[in-house]
Symmetry: C2
Subunit: 242 residues, 2 copies
DNA sequence: GCAAAATCTTTACAGTGTCAATATCGAGGC
DNA sequence: GCCTCGATATTGACACTGTAAAGATTTTGC
């Protein structure tokens, strides 16, 4: 948030000898040159450790608690350590979102692999979509919190694109993996946008609590799942041109 | 963000005499006891002025720039002045979101008032929905940024509920204005959820830039409007039970 | 073996929300 | 008229935040 950096005079400190206790280090942690419990100056695998820590913080404290310093604390390193690995908060958060997209893609691939008629498979996919978001609400929120992300980061862009291609495939539109500029008919585009809008809209409204009123007023025995089911049933989702 | 408030000793200052220049005050501003240009200690209508300022900041700097202090600066008052009127940032932001919902409701009512067959009217409403969000992206984002809102605030709850009721009416389900616990059949609920999910999902994906790839690959001459049109055309949106 | 690069810590600074104390003004009461 | 009292606004402080610079330490390349 520092908008106007300024030059400051150098400061000289006495070299300190006491080793500060480093919190949160796993007992069988990775790569320790010395056998003692003293935390080494170099972590050895801080990049991945920070991402793990960030995921923990996100699940525990939500998006609002996901700060650089909180992640550093969780990982047991100084608050400025993440900078070297991710540049800034956007960098860390973007890499975390990439992990989220990869998790999501795995879940969707599993749901799409079932052997069932196309219409059943489409519903299974939609349910898997919502289920992932319900299981990882913070992560899903992060994946679509565009202002905190740098979508040009290769890892994030790749994972998000794969997710999009998977969605297009589920609607019956197969896209080249690398053909970023492949043409798209209006009907195909509409089919993709419709499916995505429907399931993403339902998910965000659900996570934001905007469907609570509807859910509460539903006949007894109904849940989010039955509502989603009824919603999808009324949507004939066959590929365009058939 | 102060988590642990602490008691501090009192500080005594010399009374200052110089009047600091108050920025951003309109020339023909409201309620001035003196004819001079000096800003009076009491603003007179700070509550509304802060909301206006907040709207300006939101449109100019987006959601990220919408801070208490930025709003106070915009209104030309001290950084702590908003506290008295809104309690905290959530309070101010929630009142602003209520204004957004009211603006939105006006726009939707206008779109629903046209004389046309039901299907045409449904499409006109959907277009008006997206158009509002495109015209006020910051505001629309704020209205659904649940973690920054206090939905129990009467003004916000009321405006948001009215918006929801309007949506239900557009889908052919009429709800009592005050009947918060009125039962809802699964089919009716699904119709509401489907329409809302579709249009809200499309809107958020669009504002978040997630549809850029699709839009770029569309045949020449197509825009967001034609895509939305094609999407809605493929959705038979008649009220359930018919 | 040693210089350079990579990694991590420390310190500093601007900006944020919120609270407490103070200052100023407006409206009633006498 | 004056005077208190409550409402309104300012000032100051504190605990946070992200980020930058500089120093400390370790690893790596040659």
């Amino acid at each position: 948030m520092a908008k106007t950096p300024s030059i400051r005079p150098a400061v000289r400190r006495a070299p300190k000898t006491a080793v500060p206790a480093r919190a949160g280090r796993k007992p069988g942690g990775p790569r320790q040159s010395k056998a003692s419990e003293a935390a080494p100056y170099h972590h050895g695998d801080l990049h991945d450790a920070l991402l793990k820590a960030a995921e923990n913080v996100l699940e525990r404290d939500g998006l609002g608690g996901l700060t650089l310093r909180a992640v550093a604390r969780e990982a047991g390193v100084s608050h400025a350590a993440p900078t070297h690995h991710f540049g800034d908060l956007t960098g860390l958060v973007s890499e975390l979102a990439a992990i989220g997209f990869r998790q999501f893609n795995v879940a969707m691939a599993a749901a799409g692999a079932i052997d069932a008629p196309p219409l059943m498979r489409a519903m299974a996919r939609a349910k898997a979509y919502v289920a992932y978001a319900q299981a990882h609400p913070g992560m899903y929120g992060l994946m679509f919190r565009t202002e905190r992300l740098d979508m040009t980061r290769p890892s994030l862009h790749e994972a998000a694109t794969a997710s999009f291609n998977g969605l297009a495939g589920a609607v019956g539109v197969s896209l080249q993996q690398q053909g970023d500029e492949e043409a798209l008919s209006l009907e195909h585009a509409a089919a993709i946008a419709k499916a995505w809008s429907l399931v993403h809209g339902f998910t965000t409204l659900l996570l934001d609590g905007r469907l609570n009123d509807i859910l509460r007023r539903l006949p007894k025995g109904n849940t989010v799942e039955t509502l989603l089911d009824a919603m999808l049933r009324s949507t004939v989702s066959r590929p365009p041109g058939t």
